[in-house]
C-alpha cells in the first residue's frame, strides 16, 4: 500500500468486515438454525445467536428418522453416497485425464489430433444440454441407481486433460531423454518421473474436482430413484418440499450444514492448493 493514512486503513477494514459479514450471514443463519429446537425455529423472529441443541439435532439428523413424515434414507447413508460419488468422480477424472494427457504429449501416433479434438469437444457439452439422451444411455446400460451410473458419465473431462497436458509440456525434454538413457520405458517414466513431478497439480485438481463431484445435483436426481442411493445434496430439495407442510427448520438446516461441511473443510484446509487448482484449470 502506498499511503498509510489511519482513516484510509479504517475504511478499508470496515468495508472488508462488512463484506465478510454479508458473505458469511447465510452460513451463520444456517448454523444458528441447527442449534435450536423445532419449537424455537417455528417462532418469528428467528434467533440470531446459537442455542444449545446442536448435538441433539445432529444425532437426530444423522442417525434418527430425520425429518418426520418423510420416507428418506438415513443422512449418514446420504453422506456416504455423496462421498463415494465425489471420490469416484474426482479420482476417476484424474486417472483417465493423466493417462490421455500422457499419450497426447509423449507419443506420436496416427489419429492423435482426432483424439485431442474428441476430448476437447466434451468441454462444450455440459450434462445439462444432453440430459435426456445421456439418461437413456445410462438406463440402457443398466446403470441407474448405481455408483457407476452416478460417476462414470461425469468422469470425462477436457479441463483436467488440458491441465495435465500443460503441466507435462513444462517438464523439460531432458527429463525424458535422461530417463531413456537410464533405460526407463514409457510406463516406468510415467510412474517414476511424471507422476511425482505433477503431484501438487494432482492434489490441486483433486480439491476442485472433489467439490465438483460432491455438489452434483441434476445428474443424481435423474438417475437415482432408489432412496438408498440419495446423495445429501439432492436430499435438500425433498426437505424443502416437506418444509412447506411441516416446517422442521432445525433438522433441514442441520442437514444443509452437514452437506456443506465436507467441501468447505476441503477448501479451507487446502486453501493454497485450492486457489492453485482453480486458477490453473480455468486458464
Amino acid at each position: 500500500m502506498v499511503e498509510n493514512r489511519p482513516l484510509a486503513n479504517f475504511i478499508t477494514h470496515l468495508v472488508l468486515v462488512l463484506g465478510v459479514i454479508a458473505i458469511a450471514l447465510p452460513i451463520w443463519i444456517t448454523f444458528v438454525a441447527a442449534t435450536h429446537d423445532e419449537i424455537r425455529m417455528a417462532q418469528a423472529p428467528l434467533p440470531l445467536w446459537p442455542g444449545n441443541q446442536l448435538w441433539i439435532n445432529l444425532k437426530q439428523t444423522l442417525f434418527g428418522t430425520g425429518l418426520s413424515g418423510t420416507e428418506t434414507a438415513p443422512v449418514w447413508l446420504m453422506l456416504f453416497n455423496s462421498l463415494s460419488m465425489a471420490l469416484m468422480i474426482s479420482l476417476g477424472k484424474i486417472a483417465i485425464s493423466l493417462l490421455s494427457a500422457f499419450a497426447i504429449v509423449y507419443f506420436k501416433f496416427p489419429f492423435r489430433m482426432t483424439c485431442f479434438w474428441m476430448i476437447f469437444i466434451t468441454l462444450m457439452l455440459p450434462v445439462e444440454v444432453r440430459i435426456l439422451p445421456t439418461f437413456e444411455v445410462v438406463a440402457n446400460l443398466g446403470m441407474l441407481n448405481s455408483y457407476w451410473g452416478l460417476s462414470i458419465p461425469l468422469i470425462a473431462s477436457a479441463t483436467a486433460t488440458f491441465m495435465f497436458r500443460q503441466v507435462f509440456l513444462t517438464v523439460p525434454d531432458e527429463m525424458l531423454e535422461s530417463a531413456r538413457i537410464d533405460g526407463a520405458g514409457p510406463m516406468r517414466f510415467f510412474w517414476d518421473i511424471l507422476l511425482p513431478l505433477s503431484r501438487t497439480n494432482i492434489a490441486a485438481l483433486f480439491v476442485i474436482l472433489f467439490i465438483f463431484g460432491w455438489n452434483q445435483y441434476l445428474w443424481p436426481l435423474l438417475i437415482t430413484t432408489d432412496t438408498s442411493m440419495t446423495t445429501i445434496v439432492m436430499s435438500i430439495k425433498q426437505m424443502l418440499e416437506a418444509a412447506e407442510q411441516s416446517p422442521q427448520w432445525n433438522i433441514i438446516m442441520t442437514t444443509a450444514l452437514l452437506a456443506m461441511i465436507p467441501p468447505i473443510f476441503v477448501v479451507i484446509s487446502m486453501q493454497k492448493l485450492f486457489v492453485q487448482g482453480l486458477t490453473e484449470t480455468d486458464k
Binding site: 531432458e174 527429463m175 531423454e177 538413457i181 537410464d182 533405460g183 526407463a184 518421473i193
Partner: protein, 352 residues
C-alpha cells in the same frame, strides 16, 4: 570403453538436410570436442550418437557394433545435459541410482557404485539432498556422478558448463579433463566455446552449417586451419583477413605493401590470414597499421586499427606494455611461414 565410428552420417528433418555426410573415427579413450557456432548441428550429432535422434542415413558404430537401431539405454552410453536434467523429486543418491535400479543391479552393488562416484566427485555429503538444495556447481557434479555410476563405454557431454559462471566454468573444465583422463572413457563433448574446446579436447571436430570443417588436434587447427572459418574460429583475438594477390611467394596487400609467404609457385587472388599475436613490431616491417584504439591487458597489449591506406580492420597483439595514443601509425613484420593463405572463392586453405 570403445571406439566410435561415424560413417557417411546424414540427418534430415523432412526435406532439409541439417548434417551432411559426417565422417569420423574416434579412438578408444579419446576426448573429442565438437565445436561450432549455434545452429551448426553439433548437438544434433551428439544426440544421434546418444540415440535421442534417429539417423537419416549412414552408420554409427560403438565398439565395432552398429547402434543405429538401438535404444539409448542399450548403447552403453551416459550423457550429461546442459541443464543437468536431474530428477527434481529424487535425492542425489536416488538420481544416481535410478538407471542402475532399472538395470536391476543388486542393492549392495548400487550403493558401492554410487558411493565410489560420490567420493571421486566429492559430493558424498550431499547424497541425501534434493537437487534444488544444491548450487549450480554441485548439480553439475551430480549430473556427472549419474554418468559415472553407469560405468559406460562412452560419455556424452552436451554443453555441460554453459549454465555456470565464468570462474566455476574454468574450474569444472579442469575437473572434467582430469576425470576423463583418470577413467579413460571415450568422450564426446559439445560446446560453442573455442577456449573450452582447445583446452579439453584431444581432437576437435569443427562443425559449420552441418559440414565438418576440420577434424584434428588443437595445435593442428591453430597452426594449419583448413578453412577461413576454422582460422577465424580458433584463436583469440581472431585472425586478421585481408584480400591480396599472391605471386610465387610474395603477397601484395591492397595498400601495395608486399609480404613474403611460404607459398611458392602460385599466383592469383587470395585471402591472407595474419594472427594478431604473430605480428612483430618492427619499424622496417612491411605491414603498417593506423592504430585507433589501444587495449591494455597487462601481459600484452592489443592495438586496434586499420591497414594503412585501406579500411580493412586489423588487430595486433604485442607482448608487454606498449604506450600508443590513438591515431598513430605502427609497422609490423611477420615470418613467412606464419602467413596463412586461403582461396578467395572456396575459402579453403592453399596447401603450403
Amino acid at each position: 570403453m570403445a571406439d566410435i565410428k561415424l560413417t557417411d552420417l546424414t540427418k534430415s528433418y523432412g526435406p532439409t538436410e541439417v548434417l551432411h555426410h559426417i565422417e569420423g573415427d574416434i579412438n578408444d579413450g579419446e576426448f573429442i570436442v565438437i565445436v561450432g557456432p549455434s545452429g551448426c548441428g553439433k548437438s544434433t550429432l551428439l544426440r544421434m550418437v546418444a540415440g535421442l535422434e534417429t539417423v537419416s542415413s549412414g552408420e554409427i558404430q560403438i565398439g565395432g557394433k552398429r547402434v543405429n537401431e538401438l535404444e539409448p539405454s542399450a548403447r552403453d552410453i551416459a550423457m550429461v545435459f546442459q541443464n543437468y536434467a536431474l530428477y527434481p523429486h529424487m535425492s542425489v543418491r536416488e538420481n544416481m541410482a535410478y538407471g542402475l535400479k532399472i538395470r536391476k543391479l543388486s542393492k549392495a552393488e548400487i550403493n558401492r557404485r554410487v558411493e565410489e562416484a560420490a567420493d571421486i566427485l566429492e559430493i558424498r555429503e550431499y547424497l541425501d539432498r534434493k537437487p534444488r538444495q544444491l548450487s549450480g556447481g554441485q548439480r553439475q557434479r551430480v549430473a556427472m556422478g549419474r554418468a559415472i555410476v553407469r560405468d559406460p563405454q562412452v560419455f556424452l557431454f552436451d554443453e555441460p558448463l554453459s549454465n555456470l559462471d565464468a570462474k566455476l566454468r574454468v574450474q569444472m573444465r579442469l575437473e572434467i579433463r582430469k576425470l576423463q583422463q583418470r577413467l579413460g572413457v571415450t568422450s564426446i563433448y559439445v560446446t560453442h566455446d573455442q577456449v573450452e574446446a582447445m583446452t579439453l579436447g584431444d581432437r576437435l571436430m569443427v562443425l559449420n552449417g552441418g559440414y565438418v570443417e576440420q577434424f584434428g588436434t588443437p595445435i593442428e587447427l591453430y597452426d594449419r586451419p583448413a578453412s577461413v572459418f576454422v582460422a577465424g574460429f580458433i584463436g583469440s583475438p581472431a585472425m586478421n583477413f585481408v584480400p591480396a594477390t599472391s605471386d610465387n611467394g610474395v603477397a601484395t596487400l591492397p595498400n601495395d605493401a608486399q609480404v613474403s609467404t611460404s607459398l611458392g609457385g602460385h599466383s592469383g587472388s587470395v585471402l591472407i590470414g595474419l594472427r594478431p599475436e604473430h605480428l612483430i613490431p618492427d619499424d622496417a616491417g612491411a605491414i603498417s597499421i593506423d592504430v585507433e584504439m589501444v587495449e591494455q591487458l597487462g601481459a600484452n597489449t592489443l592495438l586496434h586499427g586499420t591497414l594503412s591506406g585501406t579500411d580493412h580492420a586489423m588487430v595486433a597483439s604485442v607482448a608487454g606494455h606498449v604506450t600508443a595514443d590513438g591515431d598513430s601509425q605502427h609497422r609490423f613484420r611477420i615470418a613467412p611461414d606464419l602467413v596463412h593463405l586461403f582461396d578467395l572463392q572456396t575459402e579453403k586453405r592453399l596447401a603450403i
